[in-house]
Subunit: 367 residues, 2 copies
């Protein structure tokens, strides 16, 4: 690397890694064209017609910067969650919010606790700000709440990350389990509760919102149930003073104007959201049945994907590779024991049928 | 502020400031509705019809994440600039790129040199990463190249920022002046050459592109001439190893999918760009004449705005306030001697006429 002008101490020690390789990059690397894209938990049910209309109308306003305070969207979100708009911060998806969190809470060398095999982009940001990751293995197919707590205490962690419902397993905890968990976190440690998939979860999985608690940041997104992944918009629900901390560092005019319009319109179409959630629940059941039929077991899921345990890492990799050869994009987590799993996003009925057909054939050929 | 959990050392010492107050916020604060928005150098000529079509077609793909490598766009940009795509990094507008630059090059306490009254968002990011700003006053209405160099050397600055053409004056230097300037910058100091307005500038203002030089990062945007401010997309031209440094910290899936499609389509419509540049040049002339008619003087401009010196900070503020009362949004820089200036974006012919009418009336009423 050119040493002049010198990079910062943190950056010059960072490895060259990316949290995820884009499917487009995989296509270019292998010369294979994806025709079934079920590896990034994108919503194949698309976006609300109301969001479509709002975004279309907004194209002619593309020459104008968006509102840097996201006023209208935050106001609507505040009403929805029965909190104050000052308790909401909008950013370019949860990925951007996780970067803010690492920056606001970490000094170089500070400890952070997460699950081994948890969301790679969170880990990327933690390392990117000089944090030290402590990773706790999954236990009995779920995040190990007790293990996470013990590690956070032992390492004096500044941040503890938990996704609920979880990615990549799809599993979840109840609000009582979460309340108990939160109450045991030391006051010097922030709980990041990543709720990217919360719309797909049962009510019992939703910890009641309490923005008076400065020890928790909940992250939400329009990328999953709302189908706005490409628009890049999400938000944090948290204590107003934490929102103020974000305001000191965030890229104020960073959120796309159409994304703001689309997200606002989507919030005003609860019927669409309900339909998506209903279809996804059905799709999960189909995947669970398919897994059973093939002699595998599916993790219970409260998300828009299902993790199917095929028994070994070797088999999971073989299946993933064979599917890829046929233009089917799914993911296999790369950490044991999750690397026994195919993580497959729920698709439309047509996509689900096609996936079932190809997976059956693939598994039979491999056995 | 809640002290638990504690924020990082840098963030806990940051003041609560924003680089710019959004016009929407000003409207809410004052109850005045803007009907002439000429304060943010947005392009009132809008976007290319090709960009419109590409973005419209892309709405139905909103449920898909965008390409995290921006492959197609970087390839097209590489062809345009006759460089390698590995020498280009795409981000969510120059604002985001400036944040990456501060993060990649600064340790807390490092010095940075810029012009007093230069781009506030750059300063915001420098302070946000713990940098110390050294600000060199404008001289004879332009950035003081010699003063900037001396200060950069004296303070052992890690970054030296120069906008060419300049914001907020609109002035520019020739490629020979820039070459000479660049050659005198110490090898431990990075030159950030912000070229947000370069499409509006004469050829003589464009420093030849040399991505073999690891001491310079040039920032470009689709927000101005291409009219895609609300889409949030820009790029850096630089040494490939600096692109690799950005790849270690950037939010990889952060750029909106429609923005990528719109930017790519806009690049393929050079006729549109040429028309915009032509209209803007005419608009600048009109503003210069208007300034003269009113007894003021306009700075020469190679941008899509004109800074009109009205003689004193008091008068500039009075005019800005009187215009605001009439729903006209322009800006007045807040640092001497630039605070003698009204910075007015070029508008459509209709907007220009309206602005001229209101400004004449306002100035006559004030005198």
């Amino acid at each position: 690397m050119s040493t002049k002008p010198p990079r910062s101490q943190i950056v010059s020690h960072l490895p060259a890694t990316v949290p995820f390789t884009a499917p487009e990059t995989l296509e270019r690397q292998t010369g294979i064209k994806i025709h079934l894209r079920l590896g990034a938990n994108e919503s194949t049910y698309g976006i609300s017609p109301k969001a479509y209309k709002a975004m279309q109308e907004c194209i002619t306003e593309s020459h104008l910067y968006g509102d840097s305070t996201h006023y209208d969207l935050r106001k609507e979100l505040a009403t929805l969650h029965r909190i104050k708009m000052e308790e909401i911060s909008v950013g370019g998806g949860i990925d951007e919010l996780l970067g803010w969190i690492a920056r606001v809470y970490l000094n170089p060398g500070d400890s952070v606790t997460t699950s081994l095999g948890g969301y790679p982009t969170f880990n990327y940001h933690v390392k990117g700000f000089g944090g030290i990751l402590h990773e706790v293995p999954y236990r009995n197919g779920k995040n190990d709440l007790e293990g996470l707590l013990q590690t956070a205490v032992k390492t004096k962690s500044r941040i503890l990350y938990l996704a609920n419902p979880d990615n990549p397993t799809g599993t979840w905890f109840t609000k009582d389990e979460l309340k108990d968990f939160r109450s045991q976190i030391p006051e010097d440690c922030l709980l990041v509760l990543d709720e990217a998939y919360i719309e797909f979860a049962p009510d019992e999985a939703v910890l009641p919102v309490d923005p008076a608690d400065p020890g928790i940041i909940r992250t939400r997104t329009f990328s999953k149930a709302h189908g706005l992944a490409g628009a890049r918009i999400g938000y944090a629900i948290t204590h107003r003073e934490i929102v103020q901390s974000f305001d000191k560092i965030r890229n104020h005019f960073g959120v796309n104007r159409m994304a703001q319009a689309g997200a606002l319109a989507s919030l005003k179409d609860p019927d669409f959201l309900q339909q998506v959630v209903k279809h996804v629940a059905k799709g999960r059941q189909e995947y669970a049945k398919l897994a059973e039929e093939l002699g595998f077991s599916a993790y219970p899921s409260a998300t828009n994907f299902v993790a199917i345990d095929v028994g070994s890492a070797e088999r999971a990799t073989s299946i993933r590779e064979a599917l890829w050869e046929q233009g089917v994009f799914i993911r296999v987590p790369n950490v044991p024991p999750l690397n026994h799993c195919l993580r497959i996003s729920v698709g439309t009925p047509k996509e689900q049928n096609l996936l079932a057909h190809i997976l059956r054939k693939t598994v039979h050929n491999l056995v």
